[in-house]
């Protein structure tokens, strides 16, 4: 049984006629101990999907309009408040983008980690366990560091504290929402390395939300690419990153600057990332797609399994113009 299974998830912002669909029919599945990378640009719905897993979206304005989120077999969207609190932190933990803003500025970091223990493993809510967790995430001198306030730590150290706090209740799933975006390049590398090492050591599954395709390749087993509220391509990371099939994935990968190439024009995707509420009809990528045909603006294409374990939302994925 998969640890996490999202079926046909639909999330709106606002009600009735004013409702804007931010997530439209997302389906994902994650086995225990595996890592799934969820990739997309701003407004793609990747973070909204991630927050929905523990029902962390503020309602209103968000509305869970349809679908199921099965976490260890139970539908999160149907849980009562008390059950939800058990799941949050206990079964699924979060690491967020801005570690500085995600730690409460007025409490010592040791206390904040201990709180996570008190909520889910009260028997282990001791200084010794806090120190063990801080050591686990590579914080030097944890005995004195646990008495620090968040602002006294660097961004990298703050993110390590966030990870320690997330791991304290021994969750089965860690959702990392852009965990390195706010950090410096050399610190990014440290955090990704730490996550990879912890996954091996502790055996939890990771859902990694990122806009950075390079990071996905470092750590993920599978990748799902989102665009304008939908998954447009999904498959094993190694295969997908070497041989992207959807025109968006292809264009996105080409527009990432690399060190290898000499100074030359970058390949771009024309136009702007569509705003919520202004998603195009038919295939949502068609106005920016280099190989779009007239029919692309008409019928919305389905997400189809075109090869074993390779899902693509483009009926023309196999056409010669795309293979070039």
């Amino acid at each position: 049984m998969p640890l996490l299974e999202i079926r046909n998830l639909q999330i709106d912002f606002g009600h009735g006629l004013k409702a804007l669909r931010a997530v439209d029919g997302v389906a994902l599945s994650l086995e225990p101990g595996k890592t799934l990378g969820l990739v997309g640009e701003s407004g793609s719905g990747k973070s909204v999907t991630a927050l929905a897993i523990a029902r962390l979206l503020a309602c209103p304005p968000a509305v869970y309009a349809g679908g199921e989120i099965l976490l260890a077999g139970r539908d999160v969207l149907r849980l009562r408040a008390a059950e939800l609190r058990q799941i949050r932190g206990g079964l699924v933990s979060y690491v967020f983008q801005e570690p500085g803003a995600s730690l409460n500025p007025v409490f010592r970091i040791g206390g904040q980690i201990k709180e996570a223990l008190q909520l889910h493993r009260p028997e282990a809510a001791t200084d010794a366990e806090v120190i063990r967790l801080l050591k686990l995430v590579g914080i030097p001198a944890p005995e004195t560091r646990m008495k620090s306030y968040p602002h006294e730590l660097s961004g990298g150290m703050q993110q390590r504290v966030m990870i320690a706090m997330a791991l304290a209740p021994q969750p089965k799933l860690l959702v990392a929402d852009e965990p390195t975006t706010a950090l410096d390049v050399t610190i990014q590398a440290q955090i990704i390395e730490l996550l990879a090492q912890l996954r091996q050591q502790l055996g939890m599954a990771i859902l990694l939300i990122t806009h950075n395709l390079g990071i996905v390749g470092d750590i993920a087993d599978d990748v799902a690419v989102m665009y304008a509220g939908q998954i447009v391509e999904q498959g094993p990371a190694h295969d997908l990153l070497q041989r992207p099939l959807h025109p968006y994935t292809q264009a996105l990968m080409k527009s990432v600057p690399t060190l290898a190439a000499d100074a030359e024009r970058l390949t771009t995707i024309s136009g702007q990332v569509p705003r919520l509420g202004a998603f195009p009809t038919g295939c949502r990528f068609h106005p920016r797609c280099p190989v779009a045909r007239p029919e692309c603006s008409q019928a919305p294409p389905p997400l189809a399994e075109v090869e074993p374990r390779r899902w693509v939302r483009c009926p023309y994925w196999n056409s010669p113009s795309l293979k070039a």
Partner: protein, 325 residues
Amino acid sequence: MTMSESLLEVKALKVHFPVNVGLFARPTEFVRAVDDVSFTIAPGETVGLVGESGCGKTTLGRAVIRLIEPTGGQILFDGMDLVPLKGAALRAQRRKFQMIFQDPFASLNPRAKVENIIGEALDIHRLVLNATARRQRVESLLQDVGLEAAHAQRYPHEFSGGQRQRIGIARALAVQPKLIVCDEPVSALDVSVQAQIVNLLRDLQQEHGMAYLFVAHDLAVVRHISRRILVMYLGRIVESGEARSVCQSPRHPYTQALISAVPVVDPKLKRRRMVLAGDVPSPIHPPAGCPFHPRCPVAEARCKTEVPALREVESGHWVSCHLAK
């Protein structure tokens, strides 16, 4: 490169900020944000300035065009030293250098129409004679940066991040500067839009011939646009040279780590990553000797005591490391 060839020549520039100012006492400690930095930019050239947060690259970029007061050193622009200039004399020089900011949301006045955001600089430097000329100039600038003339009548909030950055570029272009300092111009943008802006900057340079000082933390982006690259660490330049040379055969261990930390998409090209230990130290109390030694994987005893000088290890390729060959 001889003196006459360079548009900008920065010599031993220092920017120190006081901390812990006492009641009567003089400031006791300084953040050495920029410490003894020298470099040149030729007309029409792009020089990339790379480093992590807190390394002083933004301060350096701003100090070069006198948005921040330098503590010492010289900034020769077209042969004239900008450091002693004040008031009207400095303002007269300002139209020669402009800046593009990181945050396209915060750097445009939300209550001003695009026409006035771009037109303000034209007014200040009296570059247009009348309202018609002003409107025509603004419209042609908008077209230069890939927007439409009709956009002049709109407000910043009606645009996406990428479009806003285009407005910022048009504003900088308006006065036909010789140098534009680009401070992280694409780091707040989506990947697919980043590439558009980088290409636009290249095209505009070919057309108008201004030089760029391109400040960024993303080495791959900098590599794409720059002819030469400066790598900064704790207020100092630790390596500089031709972009290809710096990226393909980095000599400083810090540059090597930066390069290995650049995420690579294609799994076939994956290589062993060199992960640096620890954080960037405080620029108030930089380590003795080589400022990089506490994080350096190959540091020796003398690295802890002797400050390495920038030396030319290859034609045009400078490194400040005792061990670099």
